[in-house]
Symmetry: C2
Subunit: 130 residues, 2 copies
């Protein structure tokens, strides 16, 4: 009852939502090696805007996955670090990313196949590739 992901009201869904956020996953991976500053995170994670990164970090902080430490210095410095809880997420996340790395080609291939099978008879119209 307490851990049923199929129940829409089960908090497990919350976790899936968090994992579902691609940035969270990358943040965990980045912080796995140790604390990082904001700009370091932004630079490491390609294609994320400051706004979204901040949102992600705040959400993860609320969820107890990481800590945010502000140093009263000039220039300002803020360091993010995984909590033990956050660290415990590392393994499952790595399982996913490893699967991704190993099977990306198969997925791409399947997608190509579907595309060709679908477009063979009458191509013409350029289909927006999602």
């Amino acid at each position: 009852m307490r851990g049923d992901p199929f129940d829409p009201n089960c908090p497990t869904r919350l976790i899936l939502d968090r994992i579902g956020d691609k940035w969270s996953v990358l943040v965990v991976l980045t912080l796995s090696d140790g604390p990082r500053r904001f700009s370091r995170l932004r630079d490491t994670i390609g294609g994320v805007t400051p706004k979204v990164l901040t949102q992600t970090l705040r959400a993860m902080e609320r969820d107890g996955l990481l800590t945010r430490q502000v140093f009263a210095e000039v220039p300002p410095r803020v360091e993010y670090a995984l909590t033990p809880l956050g660290h415990s997420l590392r393994r499952p996340i790595e399982a996913i990313t490893e699967w991704a790395q190993e099977n990306v080609e198969a997925v791409i291939a399947a997608r190509e196949r579907a595309l060709h099978a679908d477009a063979s008879p009458a191509p013409a119209a350029p289909h927006p590739v999602r």
Copy 2:
């Protein structure tokens, strides 16, 4: 580098997007035990609309994660089943869901704490500036 999740152009992101889709995860879990019909899937997975479920299934089919078999019967019957590729996703996904089940309470607790800390003026600042 073909397997770098940090590269926005890397196909690995595609996988994360697929996992990120909460329904995909639940579909994999549901089909782990064997093929299922559409309505069975819809009923098992709480809170999903037919439209979205169809979208999810079609996307997963394109990606080679499952097969869609139509029986020429009345009433119509359509069965979905995981491919070997889809089955290989089972392990990593279970890793995530197990983590979720084990740590949901900790996350909820952290969230409650953050809420209270934010709502009450003086919880005796344990940390410098926030």
